[in-house]
């Protein structure tokens, strides 16, 4: 398409210029009305702010129009498909939102005495129990605020475990296909990253891990592995890899970003995994919201369990209470974590039940393979191996006959989906 045509097309239809909310401001316009003050008004004198913070002065309709118009510029799951892999942009059920907003769940203060927050504690307790069963692991914390906090929490648990066994370790093995957060979390947890190359088949080879283990031995704290991996392939050597890693007392950390592909079909606990995190916004349908909030619960085998973040929710004599573990790594997030996201995830799990959860994995793998089958007629596949929830194609074939590169293909996809709103599938 010629540049000129593109511009003509892009300036019609949905393009709505919208000033910032500050530019909509009119001095003296009244906005939200606060409740009536029933006690004498006292205006402080000491340490008084000299100028008021320059917030906009706008009315209710101004605010509604402004944000409604802004929203119309976003592409979203509700407007069309997201063919993204690890980020798992699945439908966000509205019943989740309704439940998380229920009075009695949304308006509970985290310092409310346990006797008047039994329902909230029950939700945390049940979520931890469900995630233990889904992961095949022994204990769980729902405190981490996002996957990245989950990674840091998991690595801190491993750090505490080694430290309490008198072992100071330096390295974490991370395959080169890992998400950038993995090495960044290693740094935060005080570890150096050793990058492991994946093999030509796209999965991690046992020999690669064995070599690293022979070279670094008991300086290795853990391996951090995403399974299925970012190429959409199951790490078929996972059992042998775990064995090799365990042989030097190191731990196996699994990034659960892609649990959507295997939930109900495989449990990380049976793969030799010691610690893993979930992303509730990926596997359990809490909304991405344009970048958060997420939640990144961590499940562990029994041995790192005594270091889990405080407080722990415990059940005894049919009553919930909180208790503090003496060897805990402390707190990784204020209060109990992103409780509102737990409500949504629990709602999603209960909507599906055990069999329904298994169907999620089956449907996502079926769909990805169907897409892969059709796209492989026009694109070169990066790896010829069974795919799970995602797959990778390259621009190799296109590059032979034209100048079209991946970036142009991606931008063209956006044009088809977004600027032609009736076209709902890329």
């Amino acid at each position: 398409m010629a540049d000129k045509d593109y511009q003509t097309q892009a300036t019609t239809g949905l393009i709505l210029r919208e000033d910032t909310i500050f530019e909509r401001s009119s001095s003296g316009r009244e906005g939200y009305r606060l409740p009536t003050l029933e006690v004498p008004e006292v205006s402080p004198q000491a340490q008084r702010r000299t100028d008021l913070a320059e917030l906009p002065e706008v009315g209710e309709l101004d605010v509604v129009r402004h944000f409604t118009r802004l929203s119309s510029w976003n592409y979203s799951i509700d407007t069309g498909m997201f063919p993204l892999g690890s980020c798992t942009m699945k439908y966000n059920p509205r019943i989740n939102e309704e439940m998380a907003a229920l009075p009695g769940l949304s308006d509970v203060h985290p310092e409310a005495p346990a006797e008047v927050s039994q329902g909230a504690l029950d939700i945390i307790y049940q979520m931890e129990r469900l995630l233990c069963e889904i992961s095949g692991l022994d204990a769980c914390t729902t405190q981490p605020a996002a996957g990245a906090v989950g990674e840091f929490t998991g690595l801190s648990l491993i750090h505490a475990f080694h430290k309490n066994h008198g072992s100071r370790r330096k390295y974490v093995l991370v395959p080169d296909t890992a998400h950038g957060t993995n090495p960044a979390s290693c740094t935060l947890a005080g570890y150096e990253t050793i990058t492991l190359p994946s093999s030509k088949t796209g999965v991690l080879g046992v020999d690669t891990v064995r070599e690293a283990v022979e070279k670094y031995g008991r300086d290795i704290a853990a391996i951090m592995i995403t399974n299925p991996n970012t190429l959409g392939l199951f790490e078929t050597n996972i059992l042998e890899i775990s064995e090799v890693v365990h042989s030097v007392g190191a731990q196996v950390y699994m990034d659960g970003a892609n649990m959507n592909a295997i939930v109900g079909m495989a449990k990380p606990g049976h793969m030799g995994v010691d610690v893993m995190h979930f992303n509730l916004h990926k596997t359990f349908s809490t909304p991405h919201g344009g970048g958060g909030p997420g939640a990144g619960p961590v499940a562990v085998r029994e041995h790192p369990g005594s270091y889990l973040p405080n407080p722990r929710v415990v059940l005894s004599d049919s009553k919930y209470s909180v208790e503090y573990l003496p060897d805990s790594i402390g707190k990784v997030k204020g209060a109990f974590g992103n409780f509102g996201m737990l409500v949504r995830a629990l709602c999603f799990i209960r909507h599906h039940g055990a069999e329904g959860l298994r169907l999620i994995a089956r449907a996502s793998v079926l769909n990805a393979n169907y897409l892969k089958y059709h796209l492989s007629k026009r694109f070169k596949l990066s790896h010829d191996a069974p795919s799970f929830h995602e797959f990778v194609v390259s621009d190799n074939l296109q590059a032979k006959t034209s100048n079209v590169k991946t970036l142009q293909i991606a931008k063209a996809l956006m044009d088809r989906v977004f600027t032609l709103p009736r076209y709902t599938s890329p």
């Binding site: 009244e30 906005g31 009305r33 006690v39 008004e41 006292v42 702010r49 917030l55 605010v63 944000f67 976003n74 592409y75 979203s76 799951i77 993204l84 966000n92 998380a100 229920l102 009695g104 769940l105 308006d107 509970v108 203060h109 409310a112 005495p113 006797e115 008047v116 469900l130 069963e133 996957g147 906090v149 801190s156 957060t181 960044a184 005080g190 570890y191 078929t236 996972i238 059992l239 079909m265 495989a266 449990k267 049976h270 991405h288 919201g289 344009g290 958060g292 402390g330 990784v332 997030k333 204020g334 209960r350 909507h351 039940g353 055990a354 329904g356 169907l359 449907a363 079926l366 069974p386």
Partner: protein, 453 residues
């Protein structure tokens, strides 16, 4: 199949025959059999799939178990407030709720502009020059500020001083974030007015040459310390980090930006987001321009599109984990997008005068409570200090009176002894907080309950 999994049996058959597979299980054959065979989920009483109606019943029952309180005076980092109807409704627009991280500016201008406005609001409230797209909460934002100070000081093993009167969660999270790779933060004591002990601070600065000092405004005791001379008390190499657990205080009190703060972090859920048992909330992170490249997290900048029109995009992403991997400024990949949006809508609607009014209301409610409680022989623990909306009261027979009020559906506050690590000095101390929903009769009921029994 569930209504969220639209695949029909016919479609499944069609896909399988297209792929030349006989069953969906075949697609999972690269999982070692030993793993596959044990995958059955045993969810016990939760095995059954529930309908929407049954979900409403289930969560309704759970919510009812939390409904024992008629009124509360709880604060300490989480604050109650009224939430405008438009906040709840606008964030449910699918285009905001269900959109992705705004990596592709062409299809994310709505989210990007809203975040840009959030950043601008945070700068204006704190008096700082640059604010990021938000953090998980005030506690994690504080921890990230401490980490940033180590980077700025180029001392990965540098020292961090933290005021003992910060909210306990802020201290504990900072401790956990630092403890794997740097010395644990060192606590600065408070003086007999509940304020930062300046003599102790001077001693510790001399002894440790820290990369940062973290102070709180207001602090955990509800006190607004006077920090106008604090910056000059610190060496240039030591960053002054001010944590603001309740930025509504900055509607009426001098912001940390005017007091020489290098970083201002804090919590903004009380501006448009319910308490939600502690999360999701939203943290903010604001600093000076010269530290922008050392900031954690995401940042939205104003730019121009191909046609020269104003447009927004993520900027300075080379600090971030998806590009810099192990050398990133933080491992944070997300922000609190939707909660930052709530804050932006709320503050826009509240407006310049409304924001001031919120501060005056909280201040007035607390001043009434303070005066009346003092008149009933229940003094503030740190009575000569300037308080905002909450304070520590010394309550005779605390446990009896607290329990009696709780029986009547009133949570009188947060008993502090356990929060302060069992310190006997806090045996009778109750942290009491007001919020804009309080009526005069709510305050009077509390006053009566705390002064009898």
């Amino acid at each position: 199949m569930s209504s969220f999994i639209p695949l029909t049996t016919e479609e499944e058959k069609h896909i399988l025959s297209t792929l030349g597979a006989t069953s969906t299980d075949d697609l999972f054959s690269s999982i070692p059999p030993k793993i596959r065979e044990n995958a059955k989920l045993n969810l016990g009483e939760m095995s059954k799939a529930l309908s929407e109606h049954e979900l409403r019943e289930y969560f309704g029952t759970l919510a009812a178990k939390n409904a024992g309180l008629k009124c509360h005076f709880l604060g300490g980092g989480t604050y109650d407030n009224t939430i405008p109807a438009i906040v709840n409704q606008l964030v449910l627009r699918g285009e905001f709720l269900t959109c992705y991280t705004p990596y592709q500016p062409e299809i994310s201008q709505g989210t990007l502009q809203a975040i840009f406005e959030f950043q601008t609001l945070m700068c204006r409230i704190t008096g700082m020059e640059v604010a990021n797209a938000s953090m998980y909460d005030g506690a994690t934002a504080t921890a990230e500020a401490a980490l940033m100070a180590l980077r700025v000081g180029r001392q990965p093993k540098g020292k961090t001083l933290i005021a003992g009167n910060l909210p306990p969660d802020y201290k504990q999270v900072t401790h956990a974030y630092l403890s794997c790779h740097a010395p644990a933060p060192i606590e600065v004591a408070w003086d007999n007015e509940g304020k930062l002990d300046r003599n102790h601070l001077t001693e510790l600065v001399k002894e440790h040459n820290p990369c940062s000092v973290i102070v709180s405004m207001p602090n955990y005791f509800g006190i607004l310390d006077d920090f106008s001379t604090l910056r000059s008390q610190l060496p240039d190499s030591c960053m002054l980090i001010v944590a603001v657990p309740d930025p509504s205080a900055l509607s009426i009190f001098e912001p940390p930006g005017s007091l020489g703060a290098d970083v201002v972090v804090g919590e903004a859920h009380q501006l448009g987001t319910p308490m939600l048992f502690g999360g999701p909330h939203v943290g903010f992170f604001a600093t000076r321009k010269n530290f922008a490249r050392q900031m954690p997290g995401r940042l939205v900048g104003e730019s121009q599109d191909a046609r020269g029109q104003r447009a927004y995009t993520l900027t300075m992403a080379t600090r971030e984990q998806h590009i810099r991997r192990e050398k990133a400024t933080s491992n944070i990949c997300t922000n609190q997008g939707l909660i930052a949006l709530r804050t932006t809508i709320y503050l826009s609607f509240l407006g310049k005068r409304g924001f001031e009014r919120l501060g005056v209301m909280n201040h007035s409610l607390f001043e009434y409570l303070r005066k009346e409680l003092e008149g009933h022989g229940i003094p503030l623990k740190f009575k000569s200090s300037l308080h905002y909306r909450e304070g520590v009261f010394e309550v005779p027979n605390l446990k009896t009176r607290f329990d009696a009020l709780l029986k009547r559906g009133i949570a009188a506050g947060i008993p502090l002894q356990q929060k302060m690590g069992g310190d006997d000095a806090f045996a009778q101390s109750l942290l009491v907080c007001v919020h804009p929903k309080h009526k005069k009769r709510d305050l009077d009921t509390l006053i009566e309950g705390l002064s009898h029994g």
